[in-house]
């Protein structure tokens, strides 16, 4: 079996079961054929949100069959070959129901190329080989400096990174007098540090590493001069392992109204709107709260206000959150209104909704002039709840 980019045609087929996405197969019930030149034929059966792949001699009964050579097939599946170009140039063909075959694209997660494990030596080679490509010349204006790395242990070595005239060169020796030298007893710690597995301060504090010379150059300037090293193995997390667990956290709660809010809600049942009044500043609170926030005194005296009033502000909502109490999405648009009920002044407003078909007719008063006069529309069966008022409507 031939390999393309280190991958066999069989690898693609053998991993299909693992890469299968049932959610992508909801409206697919069909048998597909694959005819790969010099490799063989495979039959894919998709039914009831599950699948079977088998090697076969005959592709009869397939609703659509794809034909390609091994290189094209592996290339398309791994993203090495552009699928559209390959199709247009005739490198792969589909016979039968092409629309349905197009749906096979969402049946599978991406094929991820497994990588070899990298040793400390591999990493060091890769890290220093990529120093020059990661260099950001624009940040090195007027800079003449050298960074030396003296890494011990069995896999260790010496490197110097020179920066001069906005160019970056790397040697595998330490020469002359570097601007700053970073010494690690064990090169493995350096690799782990660069990969973010251990933190610099712990290694320094433990005496496993030291920086000599212009330490600030290493600590502050290096991260600006070079793009961060990208771990070539970091792509190893396959998409199949990045799961999202859907859970609903449901915590039942009871909320005591206490006597203050209780009086207000009971009032609604009787078609009355009560505010409470601060005995010190005389301010009304609507709905009532236990304590006047401004004066920090108990506000226990009730005053009946409204029920009619004028609109101060209205906000028209087009993108509604679901009603938190029922989970049902509200019909949009709707108008949230701040009403200054008769008997109230200043900011003593009550919040509610305006009748839907009257949104266009509302004049807002802001804090400057009189707004549209409104009155509450009461629910027939009232239960001491904020929806005992269905909404407010224009008082004509």
């Amino acid at each position: 079996m031939a390999e393309y980019w280190g991958i066999k045609v069989e690898d693609i087929f053998n991993s299909m079961q693992e890469r299968f996405r049932p959610e992508g197969a909801k409206d697919v019930n069909a048998v597909f054929g694959y005819d790969i030149k010099d490799e063989g034929k495979w039959k894919l059966t998709v039914k009831n949100n599950s699948m079977v792949i088998e090697k076969t001699d005959s592709l009869s009964g397939c609703i659509a069959t794809m034909a390609a050579d091994g290189e094209t097939f592996v290339g398309v599946n791994t993203g090495k070959v552009d699928a559209t170009n390959a199709f247009m140039s005739g490198k792969f063909k589909v016979e039968g129901d092409m629309v349905l075959f197009g749906k096979t694209g969402r049946l599978f997660r991406k094929f991820v190329i497994a990588k070899k494990k990298m040793t400390v030596k591999d990493y060091l080679a890769d890290m220093f080989a990529t120093v020059a490509p990661r260099f950001k010349a624009g940040e090195a204006e007027g800079l003449d400096a050298s960074f030396a790395f003296d890494l011990g242990g069995p896999d260790g070595g010496k490197w110097t990174v020179f920066i001069k005239d906005k160019t970056c060169t790397v040697t595998t020796t330490i020469e002359g007098k570097p601007t700053v030298t970073l010494e690690f007893n064990d090169a493995k710690d350096y690799v782990d540090f660069i990969l973010g597995k251990i933190d610099a301060h712990s290694i320094l504090a433990a005496g496993k590493a030291a920086a000599k010379g212009d330490i600030n150059m290493m600590a502050s300037k290096w991260p600006i001069l070079f793009e961060k090293y990208k771990d070539p193995m970091a792509g190893d997390v396959t998409e199949q392992e990045l799961l999202v667990l859907k859970k609903t956290i449901s915590l039942n709660q009871n909320f005591s109204t206490g006597p203050i809010m209780g009086k207000f809600l009971k009032g609604l049942k009787d078609k009355k709107i009560y505010a409470n009044q601060c005995p010190q500043c005389g301010r009304l609170q609507l709905p009532p709260r236990e304590v006047c926030a401004e004066c920090r005194v108990r506000a226990g005296d009730f005053v009946e206000v409204g029920p009619k009033g004028e609109i101060r502000y209205m906000d028209v909502v087009y993108y509604a959150m679901p009603d938190p109490l029922t989970g049902v999405a509200r019909e949009t648009p709707y108008g949230s209104i701040f009403i200054l009920l008769d008997g109230c002044q200043g900011n003593e407003t009550l919040t509610h909704f305006i009748r839907k078909d009257q949104i266009e007719k509302i004049q807002m008063g802001w804090n400057e002039k009189k707004g549209t006069r409104v009155r509450p529309v009461w629910e027939e069966n009232r239960i001491a709840d904020i929806w005992d008022i269905k909404y407010f409507e224009i008082d004509e």
């Binding site: 915590l251 709260r289 926030a293 920090r296």
Partner: protein
């Protein structure tokens, strides 16, 4: 370092269900009691630290529910989520900061309004452990078993903690469950999660507490005798439940050691006069005492039998009745702190202990005490 002192305390009665009162109502009562106790008005308070839990309160930014009543309007207010002792720690640091001289620290909760087991279950990681149905009680039952296995503490000894603390609560008018019960009553009460019977567990409670912490420069300015914070430390253990030796509380040992050192205490067994600690379950009183080095390892049960932790014993523990007699989660650590303050001032009334000069306050957070807070309070600066 500069010193701080607790100069006022106030608490509501702890009750099973304060259906007549909202958070604001409870807060109003506790804060006013603390202000009266200190001889202060709200204008003498420089800043406020509230302590609350969004899950328990059933609302996010749960400190907002008590903003007006705590007098936080127009002041710097910040919230700590966790036990009240942690709120007190933060409050203390604010009074030490130089920006504020006096800090009002509050803690409120109403266990009656929610389902505690669901909330403590939510403390577990959502991907693996939560689904196993662990909650505070089952987690602590496992800890109780491992503690009893290691120390050979007996179910009878655990039961005696319950008998003692419910008995102490008879002298504390704020306690929810003052009860004269026997070891047999405890052992015959319903088994909740082996080895914990119903009477080994603290109840669901509503309550609110407030303390006022002042910098030394103003501590004597007001009416009350200052009770000095001599030592304090918070230490956390690893988070994952299975990472810990459950029969031990390393973080408590460490927190206590640091608090003793800060307070200049060399021999805590001799120098600590009495303790209010976090007895959410009976075994915890024995275990925490040992882990804090206040008694020898694995000896707490035997010393309890000898009456050493009684109100008139060598080292009175939870003379207030402790949390077994009323456990408003979150506020709990502040109730313990207030109890110690009152003992040191000689104001503890019916549950006053003798020679109360140096007292220890203990609060905790997390499952089976994942993190611990220890305060050493003293009559002398």
């Amino acid at each position: 370092m500069d010193r701080t002192a607790v100069i006022g305390v106030g608490m509501t009665k702890i009750e099973k269900n304060k259906v007549r009162e909202t958070f604001a109502d409870m807060m109003w009562e506790a804060v006013n009691k603390a202000l009266d106790d200190a001889g202060m008005t709200i204008d003498d308070i420089d800043n406020v630290v509230t302590t609350s839990s969004d899950f328990w309160d059933g609302r996010t930014i749960s400190c907002m529910a008590v903003g007006d009543a705590s007098g936080a309007a127009h002041k710097n207010v910040s919230c700590v989520e966790g036990d009240g002792a942690y709120g007190a720690f933060y409050g203390m640091t604010r009074s030490l900061s130089g920006s504020y001289k006096t800090t009002l620290v509050t803690g409120h909760s109403k266990g009656s309004q929610s389902v505690s087991s669901l909330i403590t279950n939510s403390a577990f990681d959502p991907i693996y452990e939560r689904g196993l149905g662990m909650d505070m009680i089952t987690a602590c039952a496992m800890q109780a078993s491992s503690y009893m296995h290691r120390t050979k503490a007996t179910p009878e000894q655990l039961a005696m903690v319950s008998v003692k603390n419910h008995g102490n609560a008879l002298k504390n008018p704020l306690a929810q469950l003052p009860m004269k019960i026997t070891v047999r009553d405890v052992l015959e009460s319903e088994m909740i999660a082996d080895p914990l019977h119903k009477l080994d567990c603290s109840p669901i409670s509503d309550g609110c507490a407030a303390v006022i912490i002042a910098h030394e420069s103003v501590a004597a300015k007001f009416k009350q005798k200052p009770v000095w914070i001599k030592g304090v430390s918070i230490c956390a253990d690893s988070f994952f439940f299975g990472d810990r030796d459950l029969s031990r509380a390393r973080s408590l040992t460490e927190a206590a050691r640091k608090a003793y050192a800060m307070a200049g205490i060399k021999d805590p067994k001799k120098e600590i006069d009495f303790v209010e600690l976090y007895d959410a379950f009976t075994y915890q009183e024995l275990m925490w005492l040992e882990e804090m080095g206040l008694v020898d390892d694995a000896m707490a049960g035997k010393l309890l039998e000898k009456g050493e932790f009684d109100m008139d014993g060598r080292l009175p523990v939870n003379a207030s009745g402790g949390l077994l007699s009323g456990h408003p989660v979150i506020a709990a650590g502040l109730y313990s702190m207030a109890a110690v303050v009152r003992q040191i001032r000689g104001d503890a009334g019916g549950f006053q202990v003798k020679n109360a000069k140096t007292g220890l306050v203990h609060g905790l957070n997390g499952l089976g005490g994942q993190s611990h807070c220890v305060f050493i309070l003293d009559k002398d600066k």
